[in-house]
Symmetry: C2
Subunit: 194 residues, 2 copies
């Protein structure tokens, strides 16, 4: 998505080499609402003809993106997986664990109420970043626990130099990333794939 | 908002007396996107004629509501306050503390990057619930730290039997709650104000 690439180049802030890309001025702290609507339309275009009964994302960064994409998917209900600290009774929720690749950060659980994910449903996953694929793997696990089907994953930015894309595609899941970054550094800026 | 009251009566789940109201089937776990758009239009109607430069909310439940309200406010940028665990350098962010009234739960910090809140801006606060007012008080504090102005608070559900509404209105902040609950219990259901 050309507009997204330009926006990343203009507003993204790189720290280190192939490490941090901050896009919190338009994507995941401050949200440019019109731009997220355009991103939602692009997801719809990529998944043209696919039935989408439900959009599943994960708190917190995914929520705004998923909610503003939903109108392009006939207002499919959005569900976000919550992170740990739950008082829910076991049995009420599907739980999966997100492995962490950040040093010193521990794995954490995410959960989705069983009420909001049903067998046979076609579920589109949406998230802001795909890097190591750990959050997305946990979401896929939850969809499978429910007996539902993953239509695909709509990702805003894929860090293609990290293994997540390969891992998720290796599971047979279709991944549509609107910007795929081959490499980046403070000196060279962002280099996109292709 | 009549449609909201009906929805709370139909889908809300009450636990205890004047304690927990679960509305996670349409508001804050699964999100009914068309309904949240209608809620956004109602906020716009309530704040008719008010300038809104920015919408500020708090993760995670407020994000979807704020994002789907934004199109009714000329796509005003949405910013969500993040909860603790920050690696941000002090000085880059406005920080405030949310007191907790839940037994055994500790106060926590929320923060907003200074980049995304500017002096003189007119800021609309949006959140799902107003109960003790502690999250909203922290958001108001952050807006004031930035030298910005609170236009008001758009709240989906106010638990009017708790002191938050009085506290926030006592600060001179206009609160527009779309459903105000006078009392509720498993036996009697929800009784709305007026």
């Amino acid at each position: 998505m050309e507009e997204l690439k330009q926006r990343i180049c203009r507003d993204g802030k790189i720290r280190g080499s192939n490490e941090v890309l901050k896009v919190d001025s338009f994507l995941n702290h401050q949200m440019d609402v019109a731009f997220l609507q355009a991103i939602g339309q692009e997801f719809r275009r990529r998944f043209e003809g696919c039935q989408v009964d439900r959009i599943l994302t994960i708190e917190a960064s995914g929520i705004g993106i998923a909610c503003l994409a939903a109108p392009s998917f006939d207002n499919a209900p959005v569900v976000f997986a919550k992170k740990n600290k739950t008082k829910n009774i076991a049995g009420d929720v599907y739980i999966s664990t997100v492995e962490s690749f950040t040093q010193g950060k521990r794995p954490y659980n995410i959960f989705v109420s069983k009420e909001f994910l049903k067998a046979g449903e076609k579920v589109l996953l949406i998230d802001d970043f795909l890097a190591n694929g750990s959050a997305l793997s946990a979401l896929i696990d939850i969809v499978h626990q429910a007996g539902a089907e993953v239509v695909g994953a709509g990702i805003v930015i894929e860090k293609a130099f990290q293994p997540g894309g390969e891992i998720i595609r290796g599971k047979g899941v279709r991944v549509e990333a609107l910007a795929r970054i081959e490499r980046m550094s403070e000196e060279t800026g962002v280099v996109f794939c292709e």
